[in-house]
């Protein structure tokens, strides 16, 4: 449970911080939260698709990561995303790997 807002499964990752004075976040209201969550899923899925994984939101507060073989993992905080993805894929997600960089460059072009 989040100690700030009292919501079960509250995610206070730095990219998704709970709104408080002086802190940059897009968690202003339900609409901005939904928009940013959608953007975050798109961004993560762009990278995850490199190893054929997919991230979805479950009931608005948990994340479900799934593989093409049907394996899945459920977690509540974004800080768990990449360790879970590496476990599910059985391989690293290395942003300095030449192949992943080239693949991301191809996605851009």
């Amino acid at each position: 449970m989040c100690s700030l807002c009292g919501i079960l499964g509250c995610d206070d990752h730095w990219t998704n911080a709970v709104e408080r004075p002086g802190i940059y976040t897009r968690n202003h209201d339900s609409q901005s939260r939904r928009v940013e969550t959608s953007r975050r899923l798109n961004a993560a899925n762009t990278v995850l698709s490199y190893r054929r994984l997919k991230l979805d939101l479950w009931q608005g507060r948990s994340y479900v990561l799934s593989s093409p073989t049907g394996a899945s993992s459920v977690f509540e905080a974004l800080s768990h995303l990449w360790p879970e993805a590496e476990t599910l894929a059985g391989r690293d997600f290395d942003p300095l790997d030449e192949n992943l960089i080239s693949w991301m460059e191809d996605q851009r072009s």
Partner: protein, 340 residues
């Protein structure tokens, strides 16, 4: 939120002596102190003049691997005592063991479900022994991590070393951590603590590393990712900055940095910077230590100078050029998607 100042530094570098001096300053009179020692019998708390309920000695053990829960318990206990009105304090100083990596304590403050709503990172103050620093930094990874994590560095025992050697040491420390301001024990306590906090010198740090490897001309209108870096030949530690003229997509940047720190957080001692986020008038400051990134700060206004993003990294055995290319690949993708 109560700020927690982390006082760290290698064994024998003068942490307790500095703490004694700090506690004499009026601004520090409301400080509670946690002391961690490595050894069966703790002595440091006896060396402090002011022994009262606000000084807590943590049990023996290295703070970086065994007492993270104990730090949390001690802070929770202090907060409970304050809530009951039994003690009062307006900040906490944690003196770590000389062998401690500062990161786990900072992580405890950020991640602990209760502490994070009562305490905040008040900055890392690192003592460096001017007599022995050279060997310690070369041979002890802990010493290098403590310097890299510092917001302010205090050089101790400078009276035992020639002025030229002190100047050379300052130069070397600036290469390892260009963002930290460097003081000596000859500086006043007031100056050591004035305005102290995490990301103390984010902007000057970013400015200190201006682009050196790129010359723009009239035809040069692309988004720049300048890289400049300083290298400590004896350490394999590099500090470098990325400077980005284009506005950054916050979501993709967050994805990239989280991914980078997940894989290389143990080699990225420090990352901090000021960002021009697409759609935001004011800059956003970020700072992180190893795997940990603190909640980003929304700054009130842009500092003087060009309105561009600047990210400073202090890392070991990673290629700045590869990080630059990775950054461009990930955030470039985000720009295309935003335009679409």
């Amino acid at each position: 939120m109560t700020p927690v100042i982390l006082l760290t530094g290698f064994l024998g570098s003068g942490k307790t002596t500095l703490l004694q001096r700090l506690l004499t300053d009026p601004s520090m009179q409301g400080a509670a102190v946690l002391i961690n020692e490595f050894g069966d019998v703790g002595l440091d708390h006896h060396l402090l003049d002011r022994i009262d309920d606000n000084v807590v000695l943590l049990k023996s053990g290295c703070i970086c691997c065994t007492v993270r829960g104990e730090v949390a318990d001690a802070l929770s206990n202090l907060d409970s005592l304050r809530t009951r009105g039994e003690i009062s304090f307006d900040r906490v100083v944690i003196e770590t063991t000389g062998l401690a990596d500062p990161y786990p304590v900072l992580q405890t403050l950020t991640a602990h479900p209760v502490l994070r709503s009562h305490f905040t990172n008040g900055g890392v103050l690192t003592t460096v022994d001017a007599v022995n620093a050279g060997g310690q930094v070369e041979h002890r990874a802990e010493a290098a991590r403590q310097i890299a994590a510092a917001d302010r560095i205090v050089l101790t025992k400078t009276d035992l070393v020639a002025a030229d050697d002190v100047a050379r040491l300052k130069q070397r420390l600036s290469k390892i951590n260009p963002g930290a301001s460097i003081y000596t024990t000859l500086d006043s306590v007031e100056s050591l603590v004035a305005g102290f906090g995490p990301g103390d010198h984010i902007v000057p740090a970013a400015r200190a590393t201006q682009p050196e490897d790129h010359v723009c001309d009239a035809h040069c209108d692309h988004a720049h990712h300048h890289v400049s870096h300083h290298h400590d030949d004896q350490l394999g530690i590099i500090s470098f900055s990325l400077i980005i003229d284009a506005e950054i997509d916050w979501t993709m940047f967050g994805t990239w940095l989280t991914l980078l720190l997940n894989r290389y957080g143990d080699r990225i001692f420090r990352v901090k910077g000021i960002l021009a986020i697409a759609g935001e008038d004011r800059p956003v400051a970020i700072h992180g230590v190893q795997h940990l990134v603190h909640a980003p700060t929304h700054m009130e206004h842009w500092p003087e100078g060009p309105r561009q993003s600047r990210l400073v990294f202090i890392l070991e055995d990673l290629s700045p050029d590869l990080i630059k290319r990775s950054f461009a690949a990930f955030t470039g993708l985000a720009q295309v998607r935003t335009a679409a």
